[in-house]
Structure formats: structure tokens, C-alpha cells
Symmetry: D3
């Protein structure tokens, strides 16, 4: 799994600007503005306080630079790097007032996204030996989907759909409305372009057979037991990508992966992962 | 602690619109658009899958209505309500296509914010008997600060600063630049209006005495031991609001509260709380 | 090919608002504002002045309603309908001032998008007998991609990629950088999720064989002769979707389709199609 | 007719940003991101594939630079230049990944606007010998009016109204509501400032006489025959600017111009002009 | 001078939304939210506390309705009405919390714009007997130009340019660069469309003669003495619109108007007018 | 009272961009664009035409630089400086066309904000000897609150609330709804965080006693006579900040201050202050 290149500035800059505006409000940083003279220069080190995978360095850098273009941000590792507790992630230097004002926004991006990447890596490590990959879902924090999906990849995971528009995922409700898997798949196939894949959620082996017979690209095996998953993989026999979902934790993941599924999707990577603890220690310049 | 009224639509509507646009992308919900005829009407129930505190009902309702104004969203409980596993939170009815297309965005808001409220309630419950209140920090998810702060209150917590501009919080770095607590407080006081409070972070009882002598409104007792906290409360003797922070968990919180501090601030409520599991079960109409 | 449902309001409303603001400028419609009293009610008919396929009715309706919510817009046909010269498309009634002020924006959307749909239909009709489908490209008018792609489907075409992010299209330059088709495909495959398809542009049958051997989803046969296309289709033998591109006109399209390719992509549908002539005839109320 | 200076960055930058965001979506250029290493430098030449008039060089340059500020864009001609088939228009060099990612957006602006300029030049050339000028209308692509109007001038045309707010154009409907040309002109005159001109659409010589008697600045002679146009010009005798509109093609334009009208307005320049074919040929750096 | 119709909602709504967001910040109206129960209904009267001309009623109404769509806003007079001290302008009823939260924003628009309209009326009244009209300038409050220009018309004034793009105003600096009035006018004429007027600022009668000889539409007689103005009007003899500017007050205006100029432009109407005192008196419902 | 540091660029840049877009419209500066060649360089001096306090230099500088990044803006004084009539405030040099195009926007910010600062200084000077401070209100120009509040501080004043969300101000209406000062204060206290101050508007000494007994942070003594103010100050005896409001002018302010109140709030500083006259004199370069 290759690491993704940084997201373009035209995508991330509006998010960083909005986050700064959210924190600065109408009056700006009234504490630092009152106390810190404009000509005091500082240097600070961002260091991991616990082991993890780094994500969001470019957003942190941009937060500082948008406060003051003269700030210098020097990463010590790259996004996607595994760091140990205490390891410096980046150094930042420049006007102390700007550093203090942008610090929280920079850290909010960095710790959240590193948390997503670290959680992903935990699962990825657990299932790697079995050849399975961990993927995220659309259960994301509103407004941060692009960033979170990127962090999942930095943690060694893969991306599921980015939205409702880039792939077809036929769920039980769609099947119910259409009156079966076959009509649902046929309607979807008639509607979408040749570069859009179709995945179908199946609850039983019978449904699985139907979906495979229709030549779908992937099947979502939702909340199946290990036994069912193993049989589903055998039945599929490489005719479609198999994705397991439901009750995935670092503890259960290896057993799920052992069933032979290609993918394990985990919603909590993006909706409930714990932020990575990263500290910023200022040092008089 | 009274429950807050809903946030105004002019604040939340841009966030819901942006979340829908993020999920719908350029082509919209291609699955439901292809499979679900426009005239199929459905009804669905949002129900908690685990006990918790509800937050974000108005955002969920707005997500559905912005997809289709004819959707009817009927809350079964109010924001701030404690619900048990399986308890219905709301019912939603209308065009099946709109319900399916808005479902994920509605749930992303509802489960995240209910998660924040629930985590807050866990701490609030634990420390309530001691008269302490739990407060959140500026360690929030970029873009969602107003919503998360609101959810903290729905969970029984109180709000710390909303941004860098609405109160002064003098930290160790500010004190270092200013050359002491006294000059830092004086500079801040000379700069801010009469409705802006000043809080000072203190690491030692000596610093605490200095801050109290300056008449600050609140003191942040960072990472102190239970013993130190107890002494700090005694020294303060009601002259300022006392706030403890650092290593707060549902397990440690009671002991911290028992020291007599007024407030316990917890960063992870907003940066690392687990989403509340809420399901949406569609029912043919 | 099924007709797509309307695009959601959260996608189209910002575009209609922006178009109205662009036309109204800072002072609004100074002509109608000065001459037309506020209480004059009118009715107008939008009618095709030439045969074509209708697209953009919801945008036209929204333009009128955003000028004045009391305007009543009644479509006489649905998006995707084929209309003859003189056939009424919709009727609109309400305050004359609002009708006159919104008329141009409504027509600018309607005539442009109907033009795209009509052009698409011309090609679709020409190649339909051969079982090929016409697809559009990313050569779109900046800002209108979602609308133009939608119009292509209303005209009987299918959509290619909506952007750089929803499918992989490996072109000659990518192949050159990677040092061959195989490494390019492998790098792409390692990077993207399981719901992302991969298409490769090939110039020769040798390249085609390489791409097919790698199991790519589609091949873009760029600027090949009829003879080459025919051989490419035979070589492919259903192993991938075949897409022909280059010098497609209503005249050349049948011969291209006759080669057996699955898709014919046409850039000018979205970058150079002629607007459909639609008139709006006001009638005193 | 002098060539206009470039539009200010504050006007064009939002449009270029939006176009890039539209193309990059949530995940960015996944093909180039996966295949092209970040340190590969390239050079490319933008060359006309057919003769035409260039417009949009600054937008193309901005598209590349917003992807990566280190990109170097060197125009070989200026906006408004006439180029022959094969003639280089600009050279661009920098990181290959950025060049590939921004290429389509840059070309979408450049080819569309050059198409508008080229179409304008076709008419301008045809009527130039007769002293008439070609002008565009408000029949523009939503969102691109400022750019298209600018391209018209680069092609040798002149601009009609930019919107509903910068001049008065009294049409048949306004006249009908007001109960005649005289009351319509009087109402308009009473409402607008001293720097706003008034033009009236007339269908007959009788209406023309009425309008001229009121001292209007210009008259729009809509869909008149050559004979009528000639008489209208004679009647007007320089008392107002005369503008002919309706069924203007490169073939009919000279005959219309020959009637002596000052202006010929052409809607299709902005709503239906064909994009100029411009290619971008990458060259390994 | 006819009164202008209200500005379209698509123009004013973004301004009212932004103003509410500016006032509500991240937490909303914490005072009313805490104290006023959601079910308390109120009625309030907006009344002038001094005589003046009303402007901005639609913005005030929109401020209340955007806070709560159930608010009922009933104007007692129309925009442009002259009111006496104590006269009710509008009544507003609905949820007390929404009324209190929107009150300041509603009044900020209403009092500022009524102030502009009232100042305009003061000058308009003073010069009306002489047949001159008062016009505003581009010296406006950033962001409010459309609203202020509208208020000027409601006060009986006329609008000068709305921006740099809707008319040509050649000032001394332009003349200096061009090397004279003649080349400046010629360059402008070659560049602009047939619906764009040209005004030239002249400091001397000699310059005035030059400008008139070139057939310009208007002349700006800047800071001339009464004597010079009178001679300028005589020299112009109706060949162009004459506009006087500089040191205009309600006291000096009549004497300036008496010189016979057509227009008197006054920058302070929009940059320095005093807000009209309007009170909002709540009444228990 | 210390001078505030400049507002961050992320706060002011959107306002300057919007102001330029408002002035440039769709076609830009058509006068300078037509007349001034792109290679003419100029220098200009911004000089006060009357004594005052400068505010808005960074906004003026940004206006020029956003028109053309090559413009050089050199302040001759700093924001907050007192200048005399004729004193240079800044020099600006660069392309003449950019200087002319941005001049009005730059001056509109500079003259308005300097006007606010100057008005503030007038009051501040008048009351300084008595130890009172002047504060502004929420009666601000929509969209400019952050800038105006900043200007007030530059003029020597202090800031009251920035919005409805950063402090509690309990007015007569709130008291009426709550049924008294005590329940109103209690409800507010139960709702807000520990860093939010509470001020209560009191009309009588009896109300003042009630408020003080509740330990509120500040009392607003609205429209009291000098005699009442003096008694109110005596009664308060330092237990709360005392703020007087109502009918404050440079003439009445000293007498109000003499009563011993801490603060005098003045709405007209931000809603009705006269712009400071600042000229920009171009000099051939």
C-alpha cells in the first residue's frame, strides 16, 4: 500500500482558514496579543507524547503560515511515519505571538488526523499477516471527510467510497425497494458510467450467490459470523472483492481477516478514533 | 445546570449544507437515484443502540429537510434527553430516496454530538455529588466547535472559552514571555474590556498565591496531584474559580472532584469521544 | 439507459443564486424596477424554437422562485423529453417584474443544458443501433460540470469521470513517467480503493495487449483508425470496456460504433455544444 | 478597438479555485498522485491546433500556480493575439504532478475563452470594412460572464450590458406594461442616475421615431430585414446608436453591416461558440 | 424622482445572514437563551425617535425572520416614507427570544440606512427648488454599497457610479497620465461599450471647453467657486450634465444649486451620515 | 490602555477582497484600464487633511497589494497614531493602474476606521482626567464589527461585548420576562461558563442594590441623571464595574465621568462617526 501524496492546497486551505477563523473569532487571540510583544521570536518543537502514525503535517504547517507567512515549519518526519513517544515531529519557529495563536488549530488538525491514522495502523497491523486490508466508511466527521480518508491511507488503510456519488453500494433498503438483488443491480448498472463499480450488501449466502451471478464488483458481508465469512469467501472464489464489516476491534480483526476476506471496513476509525497526543513545547528563541 | 436552547438556524444551516454537499459530491446519491423511484414513501425510526445522551436532533432534522422539504421529522425525545438502548429518538417519513440520501449525514451529526454529550454526562455524573462541574476545552474538531460546545452543555457540562477572543487564559508561555504572572496579568488587564475574564494557569502554590493576589477570576491547576489540588483549593478559599485539568477519566474524576475544585476540564470530550451508536431502521410506508 | 433523477437542491441552488447575483449586480434589474409596477401579474410560456432534448427545468424554475417565491412554474414536459419546434416546455406565472428579472438566467441554464442534451442525443441516436454508448469527458465549462454531466445523461449519454478523483485514467504521460503500462497500473492499483476502476489509454495493439493482461477495467482507444478499432475490439474480446475517442461527429459516429466499441467519448458535447433555442413569450395576465 | 487589460486577480482567482476544486473533488488527482513521483520535473507547451484568437492565458497560468506555486508559466503570445495552427501559446514547467493535475482546468478556461474570442473575431473581421462593431449579449454561460465579456473584447468585439443593473434596455414587454415607449422611457429616466444610458428595442419605424424623439441613447433593431435596417439607419441619422440583432452569422453579418448600423449583437458568441482546440504537449524535463 | 422597488432577496439575504452570524458568534444569544423561555410570545413596535426618512425595512424584516420564520413583521410605513418623532415604523411579533436576538441586527441595518436616506433628503429638500439633484459617490462603507445607494434613492437622491465598472469617470490623474483630456477621452471611448457613459472631472473653464468639445456625457466641476460654477453652467449650455462637488452641506447646498448645476454629489451621505434614532419597544404579548 | 496588535490576516483579508470585488464589479476599473498603460509607475502619499487618529493602515495596504502584489506600501505612522492636518500617513508606490484601482477601497477603510478612532479619542481625551474609560456598543455597521471594535481601541477606548455570545447583558426586557433581576441573573448564571461575565442594566437605585446583592460583574446605568449616577457610584462602592450610557457627547462626557463611573458607553462611535478626511495625492513616479 503506497503512501498518498499530500492533498492539494486548494482543498486544504479553506479548511485551515475556517478553523483559524473559528478560533480567532472577532477579536483574535486577546491573550497573546496583550502579553506577547510583536518582536519576540520563538522556536517550538511538536513531539509525540505516545507512539503513533503522523498525519496532518501540511495542515499544521499551513495553520502557522496563515497566521504569519514568516513562520518556518520544518517537519522532522513525513506524514505516514510511525513515531515513538517523545519523538519530535516538527519544529516551528517565528514570531512567538503567531506561534501561540495558531498552536491550537495546528494541533487540533494534527492530533485528530494522527489519531485516525494511528487507529487505522492498529487494525492494519493486526490483519496484515492475513493479506486483508482495512478500509474506512462514510461515517466521518462532517466537513473533514477528505482529510480523514487521507489519514486512513497514511495509516495503512484503503478508502471506501468518498461519497454517495463515486460508487454504487446497494444496501438492504435498496434491495427491498427494488424487489430483489437482481432488479436493484440492473437498475444501477443502467444508470451509471463504465468507471463506476457496484458493491452489494448481502446478509446470507443465498444473497451472495445472487450478487455474484450478476457480476458485481464487490460484496459487503455485513455482521456475519466467522463461519459464515469463511463460507462466503469460499463461495465467492475470487469472483468479487469481499468486504466484512461489523464489530471490528483490534482484538477481533485478526480472526475476521483469517476467514480470507479481502477487506475489513471499520466505521469507528473516522467517527470515534482517539486523538494522538502531540505536544508543542515552546522554547525561547 | 439548565439545558441550552437550540442553536440558531443561521449558525447550523451552513454546516448541514456543507456536509450534504460533501457527501453528495458532483453526482448525488447515484445508488438511490438509480434504484429508488421518486414516488416511494418511507418511514424510518432513529433509535439508540446503546444508552446515552441525545444531541444534534435539529441538525439531523435539517439534513433530511434540506434534501427534501416534504420530509417530516418528529423527535421522540428532546436534545439532552437520556435514552436507553433501543429507545426511539425520532421518526422520519417522506420520499424514500431523500431519506436514504440524507441518512448518513443526519447520523454523522447525531452520533458524533450524542457521543460528546454522553461522554460529558459520564464525567458529570461521576463528579456531581462533589459539586464540581465538567468543562470542555478548545481541543475541538475543526469546524464543529459551536456544535461540540453545545453538546457538552446538553450532556450536563459547562463551556470553557469558545475561542481565543472571548476570555484571557494566561499559560506558562505567556508568563515566560512577560517575565512573571504579575506583568502578564497587568498587560492583559490593560488590553481587554470590562466583560472579559482572566484565568491563569499555575503549576505551583507559589504561583497560585501570586495569581490570587492579582485578583484573577479563575486559576487553572494543571496536572496537580490530589494533594496539591486540595491545598490549592484551601489556599484559594473562594477567591477565584478553581479548575483542575489533566489525566481526567471517568475513574479518576471523582477523586479529583473530591479535592473541592470547582471545575474539571476535559479535552477528550471534544477531541476523542466515541460516537453514540444510533441506528436508522427504514420501514416501508 | 434510464433517465437520472433531478440533482438535489443543495447542489443546484448555489449555482442559481450565483447566476442571479451575477446578472443583478449591485442595483438589480433597473429597467423592470423602474417600468413595471410591483402588482402587475403575468404569465409566460417557455417554448422550444427548434427540436431538441430538454434539460435544466429545475434550474429554470429555481431562478424564477428565488426572485420571488410566489412565482408558479409548471413544466409541460419533463427533463429528458424530446420536444419539437414550437412545443411548450413550461409555463410560468407571477409578478411580471420577477418574471422579467429572472428570465435571462432561467433561459441561460435551460438553453445551455438543453443544448448539451440535444447534442448528446444526436450522437446517441446515431450509434444506438450498434449498441454503443456516447460518453462525455472532463472538457467541461468551469463551474458547470455537475450540470453538464447530468444533461448528457438526459440526452441519452453516459458519464465518464466526474473529476480527477473518482476513477483512474492512465494516459500516455503517466505511462512515460512510470516507464511502461505495467508499472503505471501497478502503482495505481496499490494506491486506490476497491471501488475505483482503472482505465488505460492505449495507442497501439501492443499496448492494448499489455493493458488487458493487467486486467484493467477499460481501455481508451485514442484516435485509432476504423481498422485499428475493429482489431482492438477483437483483441479485447470482452475483457475490458472499450472506449473510442477522437474526431467524433454525428457523421463519423456510426462508423466508429460499427467497429464494436462499447463507448464513444466526445469532448465537444460539453465544451462546444450549441445552445438550444428556447423562447419565453410573455402574455398579459 | 483597444485590447483590454487583464481582469484583476480578485475577480478571476475565485473562479479558478472553484474550477480546480470541482475537478479535484475530495481525493485529488488519484492517477497522477499514484503514478508520478513528487520530484519529477516536466515542461510542456500549449499550442493552438487550429487558427484563432487567444484568451484566458492568465486563468490558465493561475490554474497551474494554484496547484503549485513553483510552476513557471511563460506566455509566448499575449491575450488577444491571433495564432496559427501549431503555434505555441505558452510554455509551462515545474513538478510533473502539478502540471498534469491542473492541465484540464487550465485548458478548459483557455479553450473556451479562446473559442469566444475567435468567434468574435470572425464576425468582427467580416463587418470591419463597414465600420460596424460586433457586441455580445447577456446570453452567457452562468458564472462566466465577466470572463466571456472580456474574451469578446479580446476578439475585437465590444461589450453590451454586463448585467441588468448597468444600463436600461427597454424591450417589448416593458413597453407593453408601460403602455407605450414614451411612458416606459420616462419611468426609466426618472429612476436612473445620470451615468446610465437607455436603449429601446423597436420593431417598426414608427416605434423608432418615437424612441428617437425621446432622445434615447441607442435603439435595438430586432429581427429587421436588410431593407428595414437601411431605412432605420437613415431615419436615425446619427441621433442614436443603432444596434441590429437576430440571425447573425459570419455569412449574413456583412450584409447587415452594410446597412449602416453601428452595432451588431450576437448572442451565440457567448452561449454557443465552439472551443478553440489547444493542446498541451508534455516533454520530459 | 421615483422611489426604487426593494432590492431582490438574492442580493440582501447574504448580507443579513452575515450580520446575524457576526452578532451571534459561536454560542448565539446567551442572555436571551438562558433567561427567556422558548414559548414566550412578544410584540414590539419599531418607532422613530426623531424625524427622518425610512430605509431598510426589508432588511430588518429579514433579520427577524431568519432568526425564526414564525416571526411576523408588519411595516406601518413603506421604505422612503418620511416619519415624525414617535411615529411607529413597523410592528413585529413572535417568539420573544427570536425578537430579542435579532433586534440589534435589524436596528443596525434600519438606523444606518435610514440615516443615509435622511441625510440625502436634507440635501434634496434644500436644493429641490433649484431643480438640482443630489447624488452619492463611491465613498461608501465597504460591503454595504448596494444598500447605501438604495437608501440614497429612498431619500430622494440619485445614484452616481455603483463601481469602477459601470461608467467612466476621468479624473485629474487619468488626464495627467494620458497627456490631456482629449487622449484620455479617446482611449476611454475606444475601450468601452455603447451603453457606458463618460464623465470628465474639470478644474478650469478651459478644461471644460475641451471636454465639451469631445462630446462627453457629463462634467464634474470639482471644488469650483459659485462664480466659476455659474460660468461653467453657462458655458456648458446643456451640452453635458453638470455635476458640482466639494464642501457640500445643507447650508451651502442651496447656493451651489442656485448656480444651475444639474447635480450635486456628496460623499458624506454614505461615509459619514448619522444613524437615524429608531427604538424598539417590546410589549408583553 | 495599551494599543492592540493588528488583526490577523485571516480575519481582514476576506473583508478587503469583498470590498474590492464590490467596487470592481464584473468589468473592473474600466477608466484606468483604458487610459493608464500597464507599465506606468506611480507614487502616492496618503495624508491626513484634518487632525485625527489613524486606524486601518493594514486594510489599506492589503487593498493595494491584492490589486497588485508588486505595490509597495510604506506606513509613515502606525495605527493609533495621532496625526495633524497635512501629515503623511503612508506612501504607496507601484503600477499606476493598480494604485488608481485600489485607491477608493483603501481610503474607504482608512477614512471610516480613522473616523471611529478619532471620535473615540475625542471622548477618551475628555474623560481621561476623571479616570473613566469610553467603550463602544453592538450598534455597529453590519459586517465591520471586528474592524470598528479594533478602531475604538486604537482611539483609546475599550471594547464592550463583541456579540451576543461573549458576555451576558441583562436588559429591562429580560428582567420583565424573568420576573425580576434575581431570577434573571440566576438563570444566566446557571447557563454560562465560568469565564462569562454578567452585566445588568438598572434604571433605579433599588434595582442597582438588587443587582449588586447578586454579585454581578457590572451594572449599566442607563440614562441616569448626573445626580443619580453619583449616587449609584457611591452605592456600588467598587462592588461592580459601573457603566453609564445615554446622551454622551464630547461636551457632556466630562460631567458624566466626573460622577465617578468606570465606563461611559457610546453607541455613535461606531454607528455615526464622521470619516476622517484622508487624501491620496498621486505623484508621477
Amino acid at each position: 500500500m503506497s503512501l498518498p501524496p499530500p492533498l492539494p492546497a486548494v482543498i486544504i486551505e479553506p479548511l485551515v482558514r475556517a478553523a483559524l477563523q473559528e478560533d480567532l473569532g472577532r477579536a483574535g487571540d486577546i491573550t497573546s496579543g496583550a502579553i506577547v510583544p510583536g518582536d519576540v521570536a520563538w522556536r517550538a518543537v511538536l513531539a509525540a507524547r505516545e507512539p503513533g502514525v503522523v498525519a496532518g503535517l501540511d495542515l499544521a504547517a499551513m495553520a502557522f503560515r496563515l497566521m504569519d507567512p514568516s513562520v518556518n515549519f520544518e517537519p522532522r518526519v513525513a506524514d505516514g511515519a510511525r513515531v515513538s513517544a517523545g519523538q519530535p515531529i516538527a519544529e516551528v519557529s517565528g514570531p512567538a505571538r503567531a506561534l501561540l495563536s495558531a498552536e491550537r488549530v495546528a494541533l487540533n488538525f494534527l492530533t485528530h488526523l494522527s489519531g485516525v491514522a494511528t487507529a487505522t495502523a492498529t487494525i492494519a497491523d493486526a490483519i496484515g499477516p492475513f493479506g486483508a486490508k482495512v478500509v474506512c466508511t462514510r461515517k466521518t466527521i462532517p466537513g473533514l471527510r477528505a482529510l480523514q480518508k487521507h489519514a486512513v491511507r497514511l495509516g495503512g488503510g484503503a478508502n471506501h467510497r468518498f461519497g454517495l456519488d463515486d460508487a454504487v453500494l446497494i444496501k438492504d433498503n435498496h434491495i427491498a425497494v427494488a424487489g430483489g438483488i437482481a432488479p436493484a443491480v440492473e437498475r444501477a448498472r443502467a444508470a451509471v458510467g463504465h468507471l463506476v463499480k457496484i458493491e452489494v450488501e448481502v446478509d446470507t449466502l443465498e444473497q451472495l450467490e445472487q450478487a455474484l451471478a450478476l457480476g458485481v464488483d464487490a460484496v459487503l458481508l455485513d455482521n456475519m459470523s466467522f463461519h459464515e465469512l469463511r463460507r462466503a469467501v469460499a463461495v465467492t472464489a475470487g469472483r468479487a472483492v469481499t468486504e466484512a464489516s461489523g464489530r471490528v476491534t483490534p482484538e477481533t480483526a485478526p480472526a475476521i481477516a483469517e476467514t480470507g476476506v479481502d477487506l475489513i471496513s471499520v466505521g469507528w476509525l473516522t467517527h470515534s478514533s482517539r486523538a494522538l497526543d502531540v505536544g508543542l513545547d515552546h522554547q525561547a528563541g
